[in-house]
Structure formats: structure tokens, C-alpha cells
């Protein structure tokens, strides 16, 4: 309840920058990048301050325009969103730095627009993570989605508009379901503030309207996060988007939706309602199991790093949903930890893919021969990201999997445990297949094209390598300090 302004700055920073950017795009295009950087730096700094403050003195409630809840809109930041906000702000910032070269080369004519929409996307996603109001969440979610439709459509001119349009259809359905759910909650409680709703709900747990509300909300969120079998929109949308876009949308969008799901489960409906009144947890864990396996199998069929990575995301969504629905603290811990870890490792993977694409123009497997000699540093980052997704210690992916598996064992959900293990194996196959192609250069193939006269160093520019390096270090750092994160942030949050 401190008078801190950082929660507001967190959102207003990028928002103002977005408006400035769209203004500058008419006047002075070169100013856009610094403005965007300043906005995101402010956001990252605010996120850091917010995290520190939440760690020091507990949940922050920031009243927009001073109206008290439940009437006013409230930003409510506890340990979990503080963590998510930190991740989102940092990834958005790092990606901005990594993307500058790319944007000024491939999107030169739309530079200003790109930065403006990018900042809107970040604003929305930060807002979704910070808000404590159900309807506000919907609006911010739509802001995020609208920005991401536009961003995706900036990609491959052949395919991206159509992919984006399909994403619009699905996105609208998802958001509308969520909105419907909120409507039922409002009918029953007369409130939209999450905490307020949570305090009113226990009295009417048996109402079928609440059940409907819950189901609509969940379906909406699942569509938006691409939980199998509602995932069909995701691979195309993320694949045909320009790389600077897909590497920020891919780690953040789905992860923030998982956050929303957990927020709804924990803060709004409450675990008692979900696990004691309703009898669907088992079914959802089975669904998650199917998602993990299906995502992995579909990833196996891909011949392109980006497309493969999108199916890995589908699989990882299964991890998080399953963990959250196991119904025990360990599983929930694993799920929340995996939001963080998966965001970072997907980001690292896409950063590496971006560096490759910057040089090779595509990331199809067939063009990766001898890539280890050509781009050793990029590939180091790629290997680390791959190991993290496989779950090799000490990278962070191992440790969230650790909690998820133990949660699964505690809950007796052995199918989920088996799926996690099998998924690790599938990911190992996925990545070592790429490593193999990159490690062994097949001469006969190279001569056919005539341009690959022996592998030479063709490393990505330093401005793209440094972000990758930092992210890769984080992969290990987060892994080693996952005990601290769990003990300081996640366990106090779960109580």
C-alpha cells in the first residue's frame, strides 16, 4: 500500500513511447529506436523496482486515478506478477536491442510503425500481467492481441497476412469466451475486481452460473495460449511472423496466458473451488499430457527451426497447464517456475534462430550444414537453449521439470510424468538432429549450390550476439538459482 509510482510507470512508459514513436515515424524515423529503448528501459527499471518492493513489503495495490476498488481499476502486483513482469520487461528490452539491425535491414520502410506497434504489444502484455481487474484484463489482452496481429502481418508477404488473419479469428473467439465468462462472474457477484470477486465467490460455489463462468474463462484462456487441441493457429502465425516479432511473441504471449490461467485459478476462483467442487482436474491433466506428446510428435515432423520451435511451445504449454492442474503445491511451483524458465529458453532459442536467419535468410534444416563452424557463438547459445528445453542440468529447464515431475509423482499422475520424460527424449532427438546436421558438413550437397566454398566464419553482428550471450547465461544462472527463486518468490506466494 505504499505510494509508489512504479506500477504505473511500468505501463505508461512503453505506452508513451509508443505514441511518441508513431509520431516520430512521420517526422524523424531515426528517433524511433532511441525512444523505444528509453520506454522499455523505463519499464524494465520499474519492473525491477516493483519486484524489489514486493519482495521487501508484500503486495502492491496501485489504484489507477486514485479510485478505490472495487469501483476503480486496480493494479495489483504480488510476488507472482512481479516475477512475470520482470521477465516480460527484460525480454522485451533485450529483444529490442537484438532486433535493431534486423529491423533496419528488413523492415526499413516500416521502422517507425514497427517500434510503435511493438511498444503497444509490450504495454498490453505488461498490463495483462499487472492488472487486478477482470475486465481490464480483457481490454489489455485485446490490445496485446491487436498489436500482435499487426506485428505478425509484417512478416513473409506471402504467408503472414493469411496466418495473421486466421490468428485474428481464433484470438477473437478466445477473448470472447473469456469476456463471456467475466460476464457471468459479474452477474453473480456484481464485481470485477479479482480480490473482491474471490471474497464473494465462496458463498455461491454451488451455482451453475459460476461453473459456466469458470469453463468459459478457461476455454478462452486455453485458446489464447494454444493448448492442444486448440493450438492450430499458433505454428503458422509464429512461423511467418518476422523474427524480431516471433521471438518476442513466442516466449511472452503464451506464457502470459498461462499466468492468466494460474491467476484465475489461484486468485479468483480459488483452489478449493477447482479441486474440490469440480471434478475436472484429472481430465485437464490428461489433456496436458496429450498436449505434451502431440506437440513433441508434431515437432518431429518439421524441417524448419522456427516451425519446430512453435510446436515445442505447444508441448511446453502442456507442461505448465498440467503442472498447474495437478492440484498440489509442487506442481504449481513447477508450473510458475516454468513460466519463467520457458520464457527465457524459448527466447534464447528464437534469438539464436534469428541470428542464423539474419545470415542465412532462412532456418530450414537443409541450409544448416556446417553451421557450427560458420557461427560458433550463435550455435553455443542455440545448444544451451536446446539443452534447457531437453532438460539437461544445470540449465533452468531441468529444474522446472524437476518440480513438475515430483508434483506429478505426488499427485499420482504417472501418465503426466511419463509424458514429461518422453518429451525430454523427443526434444533430445529434435535438437541433436539439428546438431548433427550442423556438425557434419556433407560436401556433395554444398557443391551443388556452388556458393558454400568451405565453411567460413560468418557470425551474426555483435549487437545480436550480446543479447544471445546474456540470455544464455541466464539459462544457467536461473537454473542454479532456481532454489532461491522458489524459496523467496514462489513458495511465499503460494503460502
Amino acid at each position: 500500500m505504499t505510494g509508489t509510482v512504479y506500477p504505473a510507470l511500468l505501463i505508461i512508459g512503453p505506452l508513451l513511447a509508443a505514441i511518441l514513436c508513431s509520431g516520430f515515424s512521420w517526422v524523424e524515423k531515426r528517433a524511433c529506436y532511441p525512444v523505444a529503448a528509453a520506454g522499455l528501459l523505463l519499464a524494465a527499471y520499474s519492473a525491477f523496482r516493483v519486484l524489489m518492493e514486493v519482495l521487501a513489503s508484500g503486495t502492491i495495490q496501485y489504484r489507477m486515478a486514485g479510485w478505490p476498488p472495487p469501483i476503480g481499476i486496480e493494479l495489483r502486483i504480488d510476488l507472482m506478477n512481479a516475477l512475470v513482469l520482470m521477465v516480460v520487461a527484460c525480454i522485451a528490452l533485450v529483444n529490442l536491442f537484438a532486433s535493431h539491425r534486423f529491423v533496419s535491414r528488413d523492415l526499413a520502410d516500416r521502422e517507425g510503425t514497427f517500434y510503435a506497434v511493438y511498444l503497444m504489444f509490450v504495454t498490453g502484455i505488461l498490463g495483462v500481467s499487472a492488472t487486478g481487474d477482470l475486465f481490464n484484463l480483457y481490454v489489455l489482452l485485446e490490445i496485446t492481441s491487436l498489436a500482435s496481429y499487426a506485428l505478425i502481418a509484417m512478416g513473409d508477404p506471402d504467408r503472414s497476412p493469411l496466418a495473421s488473419l486466421n490468428y485474428v479469428f481464433i484470438g477473437v473467439i478466445g477473448a470472447s469466451f473469456y469476456l463471456l465468462g467475466v460476464g457471468y462472474i459479474y452477474i453473480m457477484t456484481g464485481s470485477l475486481n479479482m480480490v473482491d470477486v474471490a471474497s464473494l465467490l465462496p458463498a455461491i460455489h454451488d451455482s451453475s452460473a459460476i461453473l459456466i463462468a469458470f469453463i468459459f474463462c478457461m476455454i478462452g484462456v486455453w485458446i489464447k495460449m494454444a493448448l492442444f487441441p486448440l493450438h492450430v493457429w499458433l505454428p503458422n502465425a509464429y512461423t511467418y511472423a518476422p523474427l524480431p516479432v516471433s521471438r518476442v511473441i513466442a516466449p511472452l504471449m503464451t506464457k502470459v496466458m498461462v499466468y492468466v490461467m494460474i491467476r484465475l485459478m489461484l486468485t479468483v476462483f480459488g483452489l478449493d473451488y477447482i479441486f474440490e467442487k469440480l471434478d475436472i482436474a484429472q481430465a485437464v491433466v490428461w489433456l496436458a499430457t496429450a498436449a505434451i506428446l502431440a506437440g513433441g510428435v508434431m515437432a518431429l515432423a518439421q524441417k524448419d527451426i522456427k516451425k519446430m520451435a512453435t510446436y515445442i511451445i505447444v508441448s511446453e504449454i502442456g507442461y505448465m497447464v498440467g503442472g498447474a492442474w495437478l492440484g498440489n503445491k509442487t506442481g504449481m511451483t513447477g508450473s510458475i517456475l516454468h513460466i519463467l524458465n520457458d520464457a527465457v529458453m524459448t527466447f534464447a532459442l528464437f534469438l539464436a534462430a534469428g541470428n542464423i536467419a539474419f545470415r542465412l535468410k532462412n532456418v530450414h534444416f537443409s541450409s544448416l550444414e556446417g553451421i557450427f563452424t560458420k557461427m560458433p557463438w550463435t550455435m553455443t547459445g542455440f545448444v544451451l537453449a536446446g539443452f534447457s528445453i531437453i532438460g539437461v542440468p544445470p540449465t533452468c529447464g531441468f529444474f522446472s521439470k524437476w518440480y513438475l515431475v515430483i508434483g506429478g509423482i505426488e499427485a499420482g499422475a504417472y501418465h503426466f510424468v511419463a509424458a514429461l520424460i518422453i518429451s525430454s527424449l523427443i526434444c533430445a532427438v529434435l535438437f541433436f538432429r539439428i546438431f548433427e546436421i550442423g556438425f557434419f558438413s556433407d560436401d556433395s550437397h554444398g557443391h551443388g549450390h556452388g556458393h558454400s566454398a568451405g565453411p567460413e566464419m560468418a557470425e551474426a553482428p555483435i549487437s545480436m550476439l550480446i543479447p544471445l550471450g546474456i540470455t544464455s547465461l541466464f539459462l544457467i544462472g536461473l537454473g542454479l538459482y532456481s532454489g532461491v527463486i522458489v524459496n523467496r518468490i514462489i513458495h511465499p506466494f503460494l503460502g
Binding site: 542440468p393 520424460i421 533430445a428 541433436f432 548433427e436 556438425f439 557434419f440
Partner: protein, 494 residues
């Protein structure tokens, strides 16, 4: 037991990891690069030795780094068992470095910087595994080792090494993720800890016997680096690697990490008492026995020298497992000491195989008749090495077999003694003829070797010196095995 907190174990692990950037940056100056590798090896060995007195005094050196979850942390603990393994690994790294200089330059291999870098990483992981205080840390280093070895196995970057590398990964990574990881997590969720202690982590009655059996088998088979059948076939495949890799990694470091992990799990996670009260040793011993006999038989039929050595390694590794699975003090002693004895014996043999390759380019045993006269020193060392592996005096290998046989007597499982003796005969059958034919060729008409006076054409000095040293040590160990026996006794409290 007294515990000393010290950063030394961490340094010992990291020193060879930190040298990698230096190696990469000096990739254009081979001499500087190799000097650095050597220096790192010396520092590492020195660090390990500096911890030796404390360990011999019955103390443990511990260092806790990161706590991941209650009871599961990344932590180091140096006890007798780990010390023994680390001593061997770090010492042999130095020797192997010297040997690889001779070998790699002799054959003018490509990608030498990559080779040395991943070699250093692999050794780091090996020592890390030796100093692990709990199963999580052990698993961590086990995986790092698996992955660091892949570029070494696939070093030649041709079709054959691609297939071998693939097989290597499928077996090693598949088993560790598919079997060890779930078993480990299950143990953790039942007991809440993964710490190695001599009495084991399970309370009586916590896990039923069938579940326990499954767990044990998951561990024993899951640590596929130990080459227990049916997960052994990666090892012969991995022989496509350059010989120094086969020598250090596939006779000492990698395979011994597998065995070491099994030993650690059986003594530290399950505990000898629990295993013997549930009578679970026999099933492991039976698995090991099958591997011993079948491995030896396959070795007999191999003509490529390195493949024969590989199958011999598979069967010898199971000696160690068998010794421990007997669950009697002498059996464990014999098993663990075989880690040392076999290391020196087998590395000598591999060094010899490599030296023959460098000097003459010959890989197949049938081509080696009469070579002994050209390369007397190499073949003499080969003889000593095979004595060590067969277990005959005057070589250290004698002790391991001696203690294991004592162990079978102690535990009253005579059948395993028969296995041991039978396998010794087989060992003799597949090693001694090589030496014999090397010195006394049946038909001396083969071209230039016909004259009675043969010019000595040994491999480069860098190749010959290491194999002489290891052969000598193998003999010295026959006379002074006390250091290692003491280490094991302090570790296991026997």
C-alpha cells in the same frame, strides 16, 4: 565424520573448464595451446592431491553451492571413493594430454582445438562426478559428460562417426533421461533427500521390495556408461573416436563414471545393509555376470584391436559392479579398487593400440604379426597391460580379482567365483595371443619384415612415454596398493 568446508573441490572441477577459453583463443598456436592444457592438468592434479591427506585422515571436504530444493542441492563432497576416482582421472588426464599431442600431430588430425576443449570439459565433468555429494550433482555431471563426449566421439565428422555418434547419444542420453531421471525423482519424492550416506536414504519399509528392485534396475541399467548389457553397444561404436578419447574416456573417465555412479547409488542411496536385507545384490550380480561372460566371448571374435579392447572393457566394468553387488566388504573393496587397476591396465592397452596406429597405420589384429620386433616397447607395455586386465601378478589387477574372489567366498556365492575364473581364462585367450604373435610371428615371410634384424620403428616419443609410464604404474601398483585400499576403507568404514 569430520567435515572441512573448502572451495578446493570446486576449483578442481572448474580448472579444466576455465582453461577452455584460453585454448580457444590460442587455437592458432598449437604449442601454446597444448602447454595450457598440460598446465591445467597439472594444476588439477595438484589440487586433487592437496586434498588427499585430509581424506586419508578420515575427514570429508564439503562445499555446498546451490540449494535447488530442500535435500537436493548442488554440492561437493570429497570422500575416499571420490578421491580415488578423481586421483586416477586427473592423473591420467595429464598423461593422456601428452599422448594426444603425439597422436594428434602424428596423424595430423583436424579440429584439434575443439578436441582439446571438449576433452577438458569432459575431464571437468568426470572430476565433478567424483566429488558429487548427492545424486542430483552426480546426475548433472553425468549429463555434462555425455554431451561433452559427443563431439569427441564424432570427431572425424564422416558418415561412420555420424552413425556411431548417433548410437552413442541414443544409448547414453536415452537411458539417463528415460531411466535414471525418473528413478532419481521418485527417490526424491519418497525420501525427500538425495544425499549419499553410507546407510542409504530409505527408511525401512518405505518402499516395497518389488518397487525397490525396479528402482535398482533402473539405476543400474540407466547408467548406461557402465556398459551393462543390454545397453553396452554404444561403447564399441564409440571406438571411431581418436584413440586418446578411447583411452581416457572410454577406458577410464566415461565408463568409470557410469560404474562409479552405480557404486555410489548402491552404497550411498540404497545402502549395503538395505540391499542385503532385501537380497537385491544377487540380481545385479547376475546381470553383471552375464555381461562379463558374454562380453569376453564377443571380444574373442573381434579382429579390430580397438573393438576387442572395447568389449574387454565392457566385461571388465562388470567386475566392478559384480564386486559391489556381492555386498561384502572384500567384494566392494575389490570392485572399487578395480576402478584404479583396470584404468591403468586398459589405458596402457589403448595407448598401445594408438601407438601402433600412428606408427604403422594398422588397426586389425591379424595384421600385427611380428610387429613386436619393430615396436618392442609398445608390445612390452601391451603385455603388462593385459596382465593387469587378466589379473595376474605382477600387476595391480591381481588385487582386484583377489578381493572380489574373497568377496564371493565371504558372501557364499560360489557361482560368481566360477564366473570370475572363467572370464580370466577368456581374457587370457584374447590378449596373450596378440602379444605372442607380435613377438613370434608364425610365418616370417611377409615382405620387408623377413630379415632377422628388424629396424625399430616406434611411435613418436610423445606416444611411447605415456604408455611406458602407465605400464610401469600398473606394475608399481602391485607392490604398493595401500594408498587406494586405505582410501576405500576410510570411505566405506571397513
Amino acid at each position: 565424520m569430520d567435515q572441512i568446508v573448502s572451495i578446493k573441490p570446486l576449483l578442481a572441477v572448474l580448472v579444466s573448464m576455465f582453461v577452455i577459453p584460453v585454448l580457444v583463443s590460442s587455437s592458432r598456436k598449437p604449442n601454446v595451446r597444448e602447454a595450457w592444457t598440460f598446465a591445467a592438468g597439472a594444476v588439477k592434479f595438484f589440487l586433487v592431491v592437496s586434498m588427499l591427506p585430509a581424506v586419508l585422515n578420515g575427514k570429508e571436504i564439503v562445499l555446498e553451492m546451490f540449494e535447488i530444493a530442500p535435500g537436493a542441492s548442488i554440492a561437493f563432497k570429497v570422500d575416499g571413493l571420490g578421491m580415488l576416482f578423481a586421483l586416477v582421472a586427473s592423473f591420467l588426464w595429464m598423461i593422456t594430454t601428452m599422448y594426444s599431442i603425439g597422436y594428434m600431430r602424428g596423424l595430423d588430425e583436424h579440429g584439434q582445438t575443439r578436441f582439446y576443449s571438449f576433452f577438458a570439459l569432459a575431464v571437468s565433468a568426470t572430476v565433478g562426478a567424483a566429488f558429487s555429494a548427492n545424486l542430483l550433482t552426480l546426475y548433472l555431471f553425468y549429463e555434462i559428460l555425455s554431451l561433452a563426449t559427443y563431439p569427441l566421439v564424432a570427431h572425424h565428422q564422416d558418415q561412420k562417426s555420424k552413425i556411431s555418434g548417433r548410437r552413442y547419444l541414443i544409448f547414453i542420453l536415452g537411458t539417463s533421461i528415460g531411466l535414471v531421471l525418473p528413478a532419481m525423482l521418485y527417490c526424491y519424492s519418497v525420501t525427500g533427500t538425495l544425499e549419499f550416506t553410507n546407510q542409504g536414504i530409505f527408511q525401512a519399509g518405505q518402499v516395497s521390495k518389488p518397487a525397490m528392485t525396479v528402482l535398482l534396475l533402473m539405476f543400474v541399467l540407466g547408467f548406461a556408461k557402465a556398459g551393462i548389457m543390454p545397453f553396452h553397444s554404444w561403447l564399441p561404436a564409440a571406438m571411431v573416436a581418436p584413440t586418446p578419447v578411447s583411452a581416457l574416456l572410454h577406458a577410464v573417465a566415461v565408463v568409470k563414471v557410469g560404474v562409479f555412479s552405480i557404486v555410489r547409488v548402491m552404497t550411498g542411496i540404497f545402502g549395503i545393509d538395505l540391499l542385503s536385507s532385501m537380497n537385491l545384490g544377487t540380481i545385479v550380480a547376475a546381470l553383471a555376470s552375464v555381461t562379463i561372460i558374454v562380453g569376453s566371448c564377443i571380444a574373442l571374435s573381434q579382429d579390430e584391436l580397438k573393438r576387442r579392447l572395447a568389449f574387454s572393457t565392457i566385461s571388465q566394468l562388470s567386475y566392478i559392479v559384480l564386486g559391489v553387488a556381492l555386498l561384502s566388504p572384500n567384494g566392494i573393496l575389490g570392485g572399487v579398487i578395480h576402478i584404479v587397476m583396470h584404468a591403468f591396465g586398459k589405458i596402457t592397452l589403448f595407448f598401445c593400440a594408438g601407438a601402433i596406429m600412428v606408427a604403422t597405420g594398422k588397426k586389425y589384429i591379424s595384421q600385427m604379426e611380428g610387429l613386436g620386433k619393430k615396436m618392442p616397447l609398445t608390445f612390452a607395455a601391451f603385455f603388462v597391460g593385459s596382465l593387469g586386465v587378466i589379473g595376474l601378478p605382477p600387476s595391480g589387477g591381481f588385487y582386484s580379482k583377489w578381493f572380489i574372489i574373497l568377496g564371493t567366498l565371504e558372501s557364499g556365492q560360489m557361482i560368481f567365483m566360477v564366473v570370475l575364473l572363467l572370464s580370466s581364462f577368456l581374457n587370457a585367450f584374447y590378449f596373450l595371443p596378440i602379444v605372442f604373435k607380435g613377438f613370434f610371428p608364425k610365418n616370417t615371410e611377409s615382405g620387408s619384415t623377413a630379415p632377422s634384424f628388424v629396424k625399430i620403428e616406434e611411435a613418436p616419443l610423445c606416444c611411447v612415454v605415456p604408455l611406458t609410464i602407465t605400464a610401469l604404474i600398473s606394475i608399481i601398483l602391485f607392490f604398493t596398493p595401500d594408498l587406494f585400499i586405505d582410501l576405500i576403507k576410510t570411505a566405506l568404514g571397513i
